[in-house]
Amino acid sequence: MSNEDILNPKQMPHEPEKATLEGKNKFVGFWFFLGGETVLFASLFGTYLALNDSTAGGPGTEELFGLELVFVMTMLLLTSSLTSVYAMYHMKNNNFSKMMVWLGVTVALGLCFLGFEIYEFYHYIHEYEFTFRSSALGSAFYTLVGFHGGHVLFGLLWIMTLMGRNAKRGLNLYNAPKFYIASLYWHFIDVVWVFIFTVVYLMGKVG
């Protein structure tokens, strides 16, 4: 397939993200990468579970966490996962403008999530003096949740860069895989959050 064909496909194939060898490589490679990310988060979860009682005299999880805010955050992120699915659906149908709209909604939801998370951290630090340095629990909590937040931020920057770069030229076989793996990444972040919600917040609140 020549470069012209890739940048100006005559018609979109059924799975545009896997239509070229490069696309296929990206697709497989990204799945492997997510496998590695899983180990990364598993290690962070392990560390957190080992330290979730180590309050060093400071506030514990039951005292700190309020489920209302976290529930809203969970809903935001879950919804954003759904909207990114819509975006990919439109990508497959070669409907570029609808894809961009749904990606835009995804980004907006992600930004809201991030805003709430920053508020949450601010709240813990100022109301409870619960910081990264105050106890081993604090170190473990901010590291685990912060790593996730960092992933969200990176994902947002990534999707926005892709949207900006391709705003004028539409879909082709070169950028379709890029959009696709960005959305895979977004789903992964979402799944990690479900675990954080369960392990950190629910179990922390219920004991």
Binding site: N25, G35, S43, G46, L51, S54, F132, L137, T143
Partner: protein, 619 residues
């Protein structure tokens, strides 16, 4: 005047070529040179350690410097010598063995190398910037988190950056092997070396993130005031041990599996026989890789995990001996009935069998958890892992270099010098390390700066040091062999050893696009099948056509340089926040180059059919 300018220009272009290359064969050269230099450095550190231990109560180097030596020797040899040398082999061989024109992600391949390289440079900068890390290559907290110099900071940043490079390399080879195999090459027709690289890459993928997290926790504790390992604030130092060994044990198999692959190729080629029990070998490789994740805590039998955990990990560890044993016997029976040619590559491989058998046996002894209460952290362990890592990995790398040198550089390494390098190294190796088993049992713990008079340890240590000098001699002869070969030896043919796999079907060294036409693979030992049917070359799977190639890029180098700069910022911002500016500059460079890479299309170019036909005569 004009010639000097031309040469200078030539050198500049040569450097630029290597700085920007995304060709897996050139990246292999980079890995080989960088890994080789670090290997010499690690060897020098080893010699200093052995000189310090030549006699009791020696004062050759100070206690603090000694701890820096052992830490840097271990870290350098594992992360900066063994790993990159294996990456050199992977890069040089795997795409050729599967009939591919390059790896799946040529750009990332280059990025992986430069990350590793800059990580290694950061780590070694510590020598000149207030002292190297001194908490052992295992860097157990809280010794590492409370170590007063910046040494451990360099360890954290260096390994974090080079570890990222390794992870990228691992993913790259996984995808390459999954997606880029030539037509007809099913998984069960892949050469065993490719198989071992496949499993190794999987191990890298799942093991390195644990180290990444461990290093982050250590970095946060040392640089940003978190308290993961500070027991006064509720921290727990055992977390580091777990994270380190969840990475660290698979790491051992990451090192050893590729050389298992090398030996499988070498034994088959130089016995002129198909590998005995190929499917069992594949199965054993996968099983070792799988079990490799179930045994990490056998490094922690004396940590105090309790009898239940100790027993479980003892039994799973012993289980690994079974697939390893299968491999040893399969190699023996590959040679059985063959026509053995004792070339230097074969010599290293043949020497590996008894050496590694001893290493494996002491491994089983160590797996007996209770007995490990005596062996743990003694010279017995030192002897064991050197038998495995030197007797396995280093012997394997030497074998591989002799075997694939013509494919990498177009010349066969001088056989006579090769054997001269082998014997002092082999004899020196056993002199150095065999006696250490007994030193350990006689009560000498490892990482001892001094041993005292009157404990019966004098003779053993002296013999060990003498052996080390023999090993050094062997390495010097090997280096001389490289120089000699490139000055005196003639150009090698495409297939100098009567090889069996695809890499021997193309010229030595191969053209930059590897295969003019992708070959059709009809079974295991693809080339051997064609040769045994009297054909001279592989049957092509496609008509001659345009070949798509990627462009070179300087971005990987710049991206890694950014992290390198940021690394120093992270290390020194503890002393003075002004250094944070370096963090921002460095991260800015890295993220900026990622952004550039994102928005600039890189579609590569095509070599046209006509040019390929024209070049036919020269290839």
């Amino acid at each position: 005047m004009s010639t000097a300018v031309a040469q200078k220009k030539g050198f500049g272009a040569f450097m630029w070529d290597y700085l920007t290359t995304v060709d897996h064969k050139k990246i292999a050269h980079l890995y080989l040179v960088a890994g080789g230099l670090f290997f010499l450095l690690g060897g020098l550190e080893a010699m200093i350690i052995r000189i310090q231990l030549i006699k009791p109560d020696n004062e050759f180097i100070s206690a603090g410097l000694y701890n820096e030596m052992i830490t840097m020797h271990g870290t350098t040899m594992i992360f900066l010598a063994a790993m990159p040398l294996l990456f050199a082999l992977m890069n040089a061989v795997v795409p050729l063995q599967i009939g591919a024109r390059d790896v799946a992600f040529p750009f990332l391949n280059s990025l992986g190398f430069w990350l590793f390289f800059f990580g290694g440079v950061i780590l070694n900068c510590s020598w000149f910037m207030g002292g190297a890390p001194d908490a052992g290559w295992t860097a157990y907290a809280p010794l590492s988190t409370t170590s007063p110099s910046h040494g451990v900071d360099f360890y954290v940043m260096g390994l974090q950056i080079s570890g990222a490079g390794t992870l990228i390399g691992g993913i790259n080879f996984l995808v390459t092997i999954v997606n880029m195999r030539a037509p007809g090459m099913s998984y069960m027709r892949m050469p065993l070396f490719t198989w071992t690289i496949f499993v190794t890459s999987t191990l890298i993928l799942f093991a390195f993130p644990a180290l990444t997290v461990g290093l982050f926790l250590m970095m946060f504790d040392r640089m940003f005031g978190s308290v993961f390992f500070d027991v006064a604030a509720g921290g727990n130092v055992i977390i580091w041990e777990h994270l380190f060994w969840i990475f660290g044990h698979p790491e051992v198999y990451i090192l050893i599996l590729p050389v298992f692959g090398v030996f499988s190729e070498v034994f088959a080629t130089f016995s002129k026989k198909r590998l005995f029990g190929y499917s069992a070998m594949v199965f054993a490789t996968v099983l070792i890789g799988f079990l490799g994740f179930m045994v990490w805590a056998h490094h922690m039998f004396t940590t105090g995990m309790g009898p239940v955990a100790n027993s479980i990990f003892a039994v799973t560890t012993m289980a690994i001996a079974v697939p390893t044993g299968i491999k040893i016997f399969n190699w023996l029976f590959t040679m059985w009935g063959g026509a053995i040619r004792m070339t230097t590559a074969m010599l290293w491989s043949v020497a590996f069998i008894p050496t590694f058998t001893i290493g494996g046996m002491t491994g089983v002894m160590l797996a007996a958890a209770a007995a490990d209460y005596q062996y743990h952290d003694t010279y017995f362990v030192v002897a064991h892992f050197h038998y495995v890592i030197v007797g396995g990995v280093v012997f394997g790398i030497f074998a591989a270099l002799h075997y694939w040198w013509p494919k990498m550089f177009g010349k066969v390494l001088n056989e006579k010098l090769g054997k001269w390098a082998f014997w002092p190294f082999f004899i020196g190796f056993h002199l150095t390390f065999f006696i250490q088993h007994f030193l350990g049992l006689m009560g000498m713990p490892r990482r001892y700066w001094k041993f005292l008079d009157g404990q019966g340890l004098e003779t053993g240590n002296l013999i060990s040091t003498i052996g080390a000098f023999f090993m050094a001699l062997g390495v010097i002869i090997f280096v001389w062999n490289i120089i000699y070969t490139h000055m005196k030896e003639p150009k090698a043919s495409a297939d100098p050893f009567d090889g069996r796999t695809l890499e021997w079907s193309i010229p030595s060294p191969p053209p930059f696009y590897n295969f003019k036409q992708t070959p059709l693979v009809r079974g295991l030992d693809a080339l051997w099948i064609e040769k045994s049917e009297g054909k001279k070359a592989m049957t092509p799977a496609e008509p001659l056509g345009d070949i798509h190639m990627p462009y070179g890029s300087i971005i990987p180098f710049v991206m890694s340089l950014g992290l390198f700069i940021a690394g120093f910022g992270f290390i020194y911002q503890v002393d003075n926040p002004v250094w944070l500016s370096l963090v921002f500059i460095g991260m800015g460079i890295t993220l900026g180059s990622m952004f550039v890479r994102s928005v600039k299309d890189d579609l590569g170019y095509h070599i046209h059919k006509e040019d390929l036909e024209k070049g036919d005569g020269q290839l």
